[in-house]
């Protein structure tokens, strides 16, 4: 039973808000760019392989070209030597984009509290979801994916995200 405007337009027309329909599309077709540097990337491979099958969330189209991706998964330790590259690739991704920090290293430097390791990638780029663990189980990657989907649901296409972010390389 349609109500309001839809009642007048008949069975074949649905009305909705732009935000809702765009976000619906974004949620279920996230294209990950896997920035895999270390051990955590192996666990991402497991999340993508057949047992856990990331395609159930519509995120199986792994792109290694940042220009074709909208979800950056940082899996592994980021050293200061790697940091400018991380930033560059993030900047090459078109808006809107989301970032997941997978594992203790990407989130906080992990066990590597030393001269060469960035103490969390949020010193370089803005992060939306953090996954704990060293390494996290692959299920945790799926959990993070659902968190991103939830987050997308509440966003507006009219607003820029992370406008005022300033990292150590900016």
């Amino acid at each position: 039973m349609a109500l309001g405007l839809e009642a007048k337009l008949g069975e074949s027309v649905l009305t909705t808000k732009l935000d809702v329909v765009v976000n619906w599309g974004r949620q279920y077709s996230l294209w990950p760019m896997v920035f895999g540097t270390a051990c955590c990337a192996i666990e991402f491979m497991s999340a993508a392989a057949s047992q856990l099958d990331i395609s159930r969330w519509g995120a199986e189209v792994v792109r290694f070209s940042p220009r074709q991706a909208d979800l950056m998964l940082v899996c592994g330790t980021i050293s200061y030597k790697q940091a400018p590259i991380l930033k560059r690739i993030y900047e090459q991704m078109p808006e809107p984009k989301w970032v997941v920090a997978m594992g203790a290293c990407a989130s906080s430097g992990g066990v590597y509290d030393n001269y060469c390791t960035v103490q969390g990638i949020d010193e370089i780029i803005p992060v939306d979801v953090y996954i704990s663990g060293c390494p996290p189980r692959p299920e945790a990657v799926l959990d993070a994916l659902m968190k991103i989907q939830d987050q997308i649901k509440g966003e507006s296409v009219l607003e820029d995200r992370h406008k005022d972010f300033k990292g150590i390389l900016d």
Partner: protein
């Protein structure tokens, strides 16, 4: 063995100070003598130390006993045919002046000395390309010096262009602007990595191309340098074990075993028979897993994606087995100094056998697709060849060296943990091409499975930890009920296993080759220095020679065929 080796070296160098340490001979020489000593060690047929395993330095700034000089450079050499290891120590009075390079003797000295320069700031006179290798080019100071504070972080704002290096390499190959004008073309520079799927991690490969052919290649590593060695100096011996997981994370348990074995060899601990067998079983199981991942990724690069599912799925289900045993899928941390974390669980034997059968099936399925496949043959036979003598020059070990026809395997040549009791063969290639590297790994999987089965039949019952409260945590009943148990528990946890002062090197045949640990102990429960001899690092040092003259697409497969693992490469 010690004595004959010691006599041999002492006989050859009557004036030098020699001593035998575990399985190696340590000889101390002054900088003026270095060149002569090293070249004799390498070239005299009676000595024949053709394999330079590692170069490192020691900073004695905080060392309790006074040494001749603050720094000391150590070359670790192996005569693979005679199965001898010798360490040449050279006290360095002034790091700025340094010592003469050994790059004219071994190609592997190139990267080894660069690392020593980067980490300790020691100059090598005459080195063709002495610049940083692990730390970034904007880094100041030398992190492994004892006066470098561990958390003094230095930001890198820009990547190195490598323009100078690639141009130098081109010039070395005789390609300059005039040649290019002659053939009426231009060199194209193509940069792959450090964030590129083909590099399987963070490695940067810069190539100069003529069409699709690689004319010159230089590589940059260090993108995953995580300061393992500096961090290890701040931990007790047992606390380092979780860090070793993260070296070669595709075969974490082998690193655990190699590390524990190295510490135990110095402590003089004979671990229990059951622990030895457990270590063999788990190491061989992980060797198979490591090769599975390597081959799975390799065939993806070659365009045979189906193999990935056959091979990787078995690795994935093996994780379930491993997490049942250790509690973790990837980062096992399963050994302890003096034994193992715990025994196999009940039902392990059946689970393991099922898993072995599944691996065999997966590998057979994959072999069915590739063994007689014309495309695989055409793309791998005679491609990216490295002959045995060149492989030795670059310090190759393990399956990559064996693929080049050198039959060297520590499990056969210097057996530990009863390896001589098992019936297995060491597959050897004949050409050192891509095909040999692939097939050697396939065959090693079958050999490892066979060793696991033999060991499961032979494994005796008994404890998995040595009954020594100075080394292993006492049983909980003792900790709760008597004061001595409690005290040793506390002492072990807080201070670590007390290790007599000294320096030693110990090695292990890991999935990628010789994984060595060079320790310096000041007598406390924390290593004064803990240097890893990573097989990948030296393999990568020879990469350019394998790919120059080949097609760019083959260079990508070549990288997967030598199985470079970032964690171990950059530490």
């Amino acid at each position: 063995m010690n004595n004959t080796a010691l006599e041999l070296i002492q006989g050859a160098f009557p004036g030098a100070a020699c001593e035998a340490v575990i399985d190696s001979v340590v000889i101390t020489v002054q900088p003026a003598e270095v060149e002569k000593t090293l070249s004799r060690l390498k070239n005299e047929p009676s000595l024949d130390f053709g394999l330079l395993l590692d170069v490192t330095a020691i900073d004695y700034l905080d060392y309790p006993t006074k040494q001749e000089a603050r720094f000391c450079v150590v070359y670790t050499l192996r005569s693979w045919a005679k199965n001898l290891v010798v360490q040449v120590r050279i006290p360095v009075a002034d790091p700025e002046v340094g010592i003469p390079t050994a790059t004219h003797l071994w190609e592997s000295a190139n990267w080894g000395e660069r690392e020593t320069f980067d980490q300790y700031g020691i100059h090598f006179q005459g080195h063709p390309d002495l610049r940083r290798i692990l730390n970034h080019w904007q880094f100041e100071g030398h992190p492994l010096r004892k006066d470098y504070v561990i958390d003094h972080r230095q930001v890198c704002y820009e990547s190195d262009s490598l323009e100078k290096e690639i141009k130098a390499r081109l010039a070395l190959k005789g390609v300059d602007d005039a040649t290019m004008k002659d053939i009426n073309t231009e060199i194209m520079f193509l940069n792959i990595g450090p964030a590129h799927p083909a590099t399987h991690g963070a490695i940067r490969i810069l190539t100069a191309l003529d069409g699709e052919t690689v004319v010159a290649n230089v590589n940059e590593i260090g993108y995953l340098h995580r300061g393992f060695e500096k961090t290890a100096e701040q931990r007790t011996y047992n606390q380092v074990i979780p860090l070793t997981d993260r070296l070669n994370y595709c075969s974490s348990m082998m690193n655990n075993v190699a590390y524990a074995k190295a510490v135990e060899s110095w402590l003089g601990i004979e671990i229990t028979d059951r622990a030895k067998f457990m270590r063999v079983i788990l190491s061989e199981f992980y060797r198979a897993l490591d090769h599975l991942v390597c081959l799975a990724a390799l065939f993806v690069d070659m365009g045979g994606l189906t193999n990935y599912w056959y091979l990787y799925n078995e690795k994935e289900s093996a994780y379930d087995l491993i997490s049942r045993l250790t509690g973790a899928r990837l980062t096992s941390s399963f050994t302890r100094i003096g034994g193992m974390y715990r025994d196999f669980y009940e039902g392990w034997e059946t689970d393991l056998e099922n898993q072995l059968q599944a691996i065999e099936k997966g590998v057979q399925d994959s072999l069915g697709l590739v063994a007689k496949n014309r495309i695989v043959h055409d793309r791998s036979q005679g491609i990216c060849v490295l002959p045995g003598d060149r492989a030795l020059q670059y310090g190759f070990t393990g399956p990559n060296l064996r693929a080049s026809g050198v039959e060297f395997d520590l499990r056969k040549d210097s057996p530990y943990y009863n390896y001589d009791a098992f019936d297995f063969s060491v597959p050897v290639g004949s050409n050192g091409d891509l095909y040999d590297r692939i097939m050697v790994r396939f065959e090693e999987i079958f050999q490892s499975i066979s060793i696991v089965r033999q060991a499961m039949k032979m494994i005796p019952k008994g404890p998995v930890n040595v009954a020594d409260n100075q080394v292993c945590l006492p049983p909980k009943a003792e900790v709760y009920d008597n004061i001595e148990g409690l005290a040793s528990h506390f002492k072990l946890v807080f201070e670590g296993v007390q290790t007599p002062a000294g320096e030693w090197y110990d090695s292990f045949e890991a999935a990628n080759g010789e994984l060595g640990f060079h320790f310096v102990s000041d007598g406390s429960g924390q290593p004064y220095k803990c240097k890893v001899r990573p097989p990948c690092f030296y393999t990568m040092g020879g990469f350019h020679e394998m790919v120059e003259g080949e097609m760019i697409a083959d260079a990508v497969i070549n990288l997967s065929s030598i199985n470079i693992i970032g964690g171990e490469l950059d530490r």
